[in-house]
């Protein structure tokens, strides 16, 4: 209870699902052999933290930011450039963190002070513009960022796949640097999610919710809403940048496609909405569903597309082509905003409560 900051999942089914997800993630290196399963699990961890930090903004303050991938990208690039420039040692990792996190926080502060003063809708548009400018900048400053190719780098000795920590004959499993990296990603992501849970259940988090519900009233009660919103924005940016660092460490690469592209922003939005806005737990569920679907449904779409092509159906092969994955995602997105605005978590939490609410209207 202490760990969850007094905000348990509040639904038996939800608790069960969360426990299964977390156990499965923790045991992935031993349960599911192969590089793909481990990659998927690491990605779920990173995105769960990233989406949870976005939920702090979207779900708890009701502001839509399109710059979240920018902070994610700052983290990724900071660590990548540091490890690429300095060499594969821990000093470089520390440099990346020391440079990346404050940079993300400062930028979030600047954007927040600048655009959160006016209407929330301005914030959405301005973050979109700033993020796209940043993306262009990152791909153009190729002496620093490697341009479209991005930066590949080597990890410190301890985290490399070749480093065997516990040899195979002891447990029947080999624990190498790769698995250590995975657990590093897992643990830090879990810590960040727990910290976010702590933030949203603190008095500060309550003020954020008050601002979401009615900004004027919150202001009238004496809360400096701009300060609170900017603070939330900076916190979210910090967690996003940390998630970016983890992602870069896992991939040993940072590039525009993996850390800055607009489609990642859409993925995040979709995960928040599917999982359930304003719940934090929704981030874990949303990220799991989405990334599993992305990795395993896409190949299914390829099969379906081929079958439709062989059956001579018009248009369907094009629509079902794996590259058109985003199309179905977009449809799913619209449908979930429209039909399930509370997401999976909201549904599970008050499947019964909603009926009561409906009766009282």
């Amino acid at each position: 209870m202490m760990l969850l900051s007094g905000d348990p999942p509040r639904s038996r089914v939800l608790t069960l699902i969360l426990v299964v997800i977390i156990l499965a993630l923790a045991a992935t290196p031993f349960l599911f052999p192969g590089a793909k399963a481990l990659n998927v699990a690491a990605k779920i961890c990173v995105f769960a933290a990233l989406v949870a930090s976005y939920d702090l903004l979207l779900g708890y303050t009701g502001t839509v930011s399109f710059a979240h991938t920018m902070f994610y990208g700052i983290g990724s690039y900071a660590i990548a450039i540091a490890l690429y420039g300095i060499g594969p040692n821990w000093a470089a990792v520390a440099t990346g963190i020391v440079v990346g996190l404050p940079l993300a926080a400062l930028l979030a502060l600047a954007i927040g002070l600048f655009s959160l003063r006016v209407a929330a809708i301005f914030f959405a548009m301005i973050t979109l513009a700033v993020a796209s400018a940043f993306q262009v900048l990152a791909s153009q400053l190729s002496w620093l960022t490697g341009g479209e190719d991005g930066r590949s780098f080597q990890l410190p000795e301890l985290l490399r796949p070749g480093t065997v920590l516990i040899s195979k004959n002891l447990f029947g499993f080999e624990v190498n640097g790769r698995i250590l990296t995975f657990y590093l990603v897992f643990a830090i992501s879990a810590l960040m999610i727990l910290a976010l849970l702590r933030v949203v259940n603190s008095p500060f988090g309550r003020v954020l919710q008050a601002i979401r519900e009615n900004r004027f009233r919150a202001e009238a009660l004496g809360f400096r809403t701009v300060f609170h919103l900017t603070y939330a924005n900076c916190l979210a940016a910090l967690v996003a940048a940390s998630a970016g660092i983890l992602n870069a460490l896992w991939l040993r690469y940072a590039g525009p496609d993996t850390s800055l592209s607009f489609s990642i922003m859409l993925d995040i939005l979709l995960m928040v909405v599917i999982g359930g806005m304003g719940t934090i737990y929704g981030a874990i569920i949303g990220a799991t569903i989405f990334i599993l679907a992305q990795n395993y449904l896409q190949s299914l779409m390829g099969v379906a597309s081929k079958a439709a092509g062989e059956a001579g159906l018009p248009l369907l092969p094009g629509l079902l082509h794996p590259d058109r994955w985003l199309l179905w995602l977009g449809l799913l997105f619209i449908a979930s905003v429209y039909f399930f605005p509370t997401g999976v978590v909201g549904r599970l939490r008050n499947g019964r409560g909603e009926k009561n609410a409906g009766a009282s209207h």
Partner: protein, 336 residues
């Protein structure tokens, strides 16, 4: 105290001239910086043409927001759809497009533009009914829904036309430039300027000289009051939304011809551009949108000439500068 006789005209509202002077001042400052007057003229013409095209695309967005408080993040999709529809007309009449006669060219260009506007407008109807109607008054959901709409539209374009860039050659008679002394002004830019100016004047006339425009302006100021007076603001809004979408389609055709290519990702790029313009101008203001479009185009052109590296972030810098001066845009709509 002077009494107003009944026949006297009403006192005019104060005109806010500073924003209008801004692009003019910017252009004048650039004369010594650019150096040669002929280059300056070419750049200025290019900025005006580009600005007009951006204005055509952005005008619908700002009106829709002003009237109904709806921010359409999928506005860029109408632009791309317009451009793609035009390629449908251009492809079978490739010979007429390449014929060296202005009238034959225009005979293809005009129907293509009209068809694009019709399709974008019809798509606007569908989007308004399906995506926006269920989420009136909820900004958060509007942003999410229309962003979803943008993805779906873009991906559908990819599915129908494929991911490759479709070339869209300029009609033969619009290629090349008018040469005046040592100043070269591309012919197509002159056409774009004329169309843009025509659209701007038409919008201004409709808004300021007709009953329809009166209602739209009244709706921007106070929606409930217009409704209370018995006008169906919903239908009015639908009309504005469709017109805005159609204008976006027209802008898409013009932009595609300007770039001489069509690609589904243009909806993303242009969404950002028109957002910057609409923010600079002040959400809901047509005049502000016009000036914002000109400013963005000028900064892009002059900036690209003087400091090419700066052009990447010039839009953001411009936006920051304008918002420092006027936090709600050049012309803030009073009711918001």
């Amino acid at each position: 105290m002077t009494d107003l006789a009944a026949s006297d005209p009403l006192p005019k509202p104060k005109r806010d001239l500073a924003p209008i002077l801004l692009p003019i001042a910017l252009a004048l400052i650039m004369i010594p910086l650019v150096g040669s007057p002929s280059t300056w003229l070419t750049l200025t013409a290019a900025s005006l043409a580009m600005g007009m095209m951006i204005f055509i695309m952005a005008s619908g967005l700002t009106l829709v927001f002003g009237l109904m408080d709806v921010l359409n993040f999928g506005h860029g999709a109408f632009i791309a759809v317009g451009a793609y529809v035009a390629t449908l007309v251009f492809a079978p009449f490739a010979a007429s497009v390449q014929a060296d006669s202005l009238w034959v060219n225009l005979a293809v260009l005009a129907p293509a533009a009209l068809l694009s506007m019709a399709v974008s407008g019809a798509l606007g109807l569908v989007v308004e009914r399906v995506l926006i109607l269920p989420v009136y008054g909820q900004h958060l959901k509007q942003i999410l829904m229309t962003t979803g709409g943008l993805i779906v539209a873009e991906q559908t374009l990819y599915a129908l036309w494929g991911p490759q860039i479709i070339p869209m050659p300029l009609p033969a008679s619009l290629r090349g430039s008018f040469i005046l002394g040592d100043v070269a002004i591309a012919k197509y830019r002159v056409l774009a300027m004329l169309i843009g100016l025509a659209v701007f004047i038409a919008i201004q006339l409709v808004l300021n000289r007709t009953k329809l425009g009166l209602l739209i302006r009244a709706g921007v100021e106070n929606r409930e009051m217009v409704e209370a007076l018995g006008y169906r603001i919903r239908r009015l809004f639908l009309g504005v939304f469709m017109t805005g979408s159609a204008l976006a389609g027209l802008g898409g055709v013009m932009w595609a011809l300007y770039r001489e290519q069509v690609h589904a990702s243009m909806s993303d790029e242009l969404t950002v551009l028109i957002f910057v313009v609409v923010i600079i101008g002040g959400l809901g203001s047509i005049g502000g949108c016009f000036i914002g479009a000109l400013l963005v185009a000028m900064v892009a052109n002059y900036g690209g000439f003087l400091v090419p590296k700066l052009a990447l972030v010039s839009n953001i810098l411009l936006m920051v500068a304008v918002l420092m001066w006027r936090p709600r845009g050049l012309y803030a709509v009073t009711s918001r």
